[in-house]
Symmetry: C2
């Protein structure tokens, strides 16, 4: 055993990853307890705890009280996706962002929408259809429903300058939400708006956010052809 000491949690973190990686601690195997590791590493148990907790968050270690800590047998890959505001995403590439509002209506939504958003089937919602452009070329097609009950000021906002997303971020907090990615063939409208062939495979992002029990918004973003969503493992 080397006499090197690991006096901060990053170096403990690193060393533990190294041991898992080098199979010194094999998948499924228990590792020594915190107190022992602290002794071995020459640091406080809190420091070991911090390091192990971080690793456990990535899914590479499994920890249970009393039972101890073991190396995960089949760690699932965990990717953190940052879903940026489209304006920022476009501008980060050095392109010019534009937003074109194509429709703005206060209408009673299809029952599928009111059901998903848990709103009164007869209550009108704000419906926005918009196109996001990067350097004047279509970037994403947006179809959004906003619950005016959850977003009071929305009725008075034109959404010509500010996109729905940006406005909501600034004016309406949310407590939780869900997001789903899928692929869809371009409909006639989408093909038209995004300047691609009808039937082209497009990446679709469906998102719905809630403020406690109240649905805030339900949005479907259809990205232009070839769009990729990247993440680091």
């Amino acid at each position: 055993m080397s006499k090197t000491e690991f006096r901060n949690w990053q170096s403990v973190h690193e060393e533990v990853l190294r041991r898992i990686n080098a199979r010194e601690w094999k998948p499924g195997q228990m590792i020594p307890n915190e107190a022992d590791l602290a002794l071995e590493f020459g640091c406080a148990r809190a420091t070991v705890n911090r390091a192990l907790r971080e690793i456990a968050e990535t899914g590479l270690l499994e920890r249970r009280r009393k039972a101890g800590t073991r190396v995960t047998e089949q760690p699932l890959a965990r990717a953190t996706l940052d879903i940026p505001v489209i304006r920022q995403e476009v501008e980060a590439r050095g392109q010019r962002y534009q937003h074109r509002l194509m429709k703005r209506d206060l209408t009673v939504p299809p029952s599928a929408v009111s059901a998903a958003m848990a709103t009164d089937p007869d209550a009108p919602l704000l419906h926005l259809i918009a196109l996001h452009l990067a350097d004047a070329r279509p970037y994403a097609f947006e179809d959004r429903w906003i619950n005016p009950e959850a977003a009071p000021g929305a009725k008075d906002e034109a959404f010509t300058e500010t996109s729905g997303n940006e406005w909501l971020l600034l004016h309406t907090p949310y407590t939780h939400g869900e997001i789903a990615f899928s692929a869809a063939n371009a409909t006639e409208d989408e093909a038209d708006a995004l300047a691609c062939a009808e039937g082209a495979a497009l990446l679709v992002l469906d998102r719905m956010t809630w403020n406690k029990d109240l649905s805030v918004t339900k949005v479907r973003l259809v990205f232009s052809e070839g769009h990729q969503l990247r993440a680091i493992l």
Copy 2:
């Protein structure tokens, strides 16, 4: 000011979120420093630190030394995607998992592959084509390249019983990787394997993993029609 005390980091976490949510602390605004909050909450600074750190990780707070902590103006949605081993994903739904190896070759890859994987253009790589099935119906189509240099035992593995992913997870660690989602129209082969129409929009996952400087594997997973990838915000 209420006399309620917040004596653990979860309750501090909750209270801080509530204040951000209720706009008591507005987007872009500085919040009191840790010491003051600790005093107000009646707990130790470390406890406040823990709570604020967790929130900062979700992107809702921005912290800088000396500058202090502020509420993020335009928080980007951050979703953590769990990309499970397909077997587990299928079995978790209560369906029967099967894996059908369609091709297994040790060949010199196209230059695009060797370039992406940073391997010698003339070095043969292990090429697997396989189909994942759920309840005997096609689930995902897999096209994988494995670098034998990074995965020594791979040459001796048949991959008929165990899928590439499962085998690699158990035998070849990786230090980092990247992942990308996109949509593609089904090619003839894919349509055939996945029992869908040619041209159907399919969700595609491209992944590449590395063990330090050495590429381990590059895989393209094409999911059957209608597949969704979900995450919670």
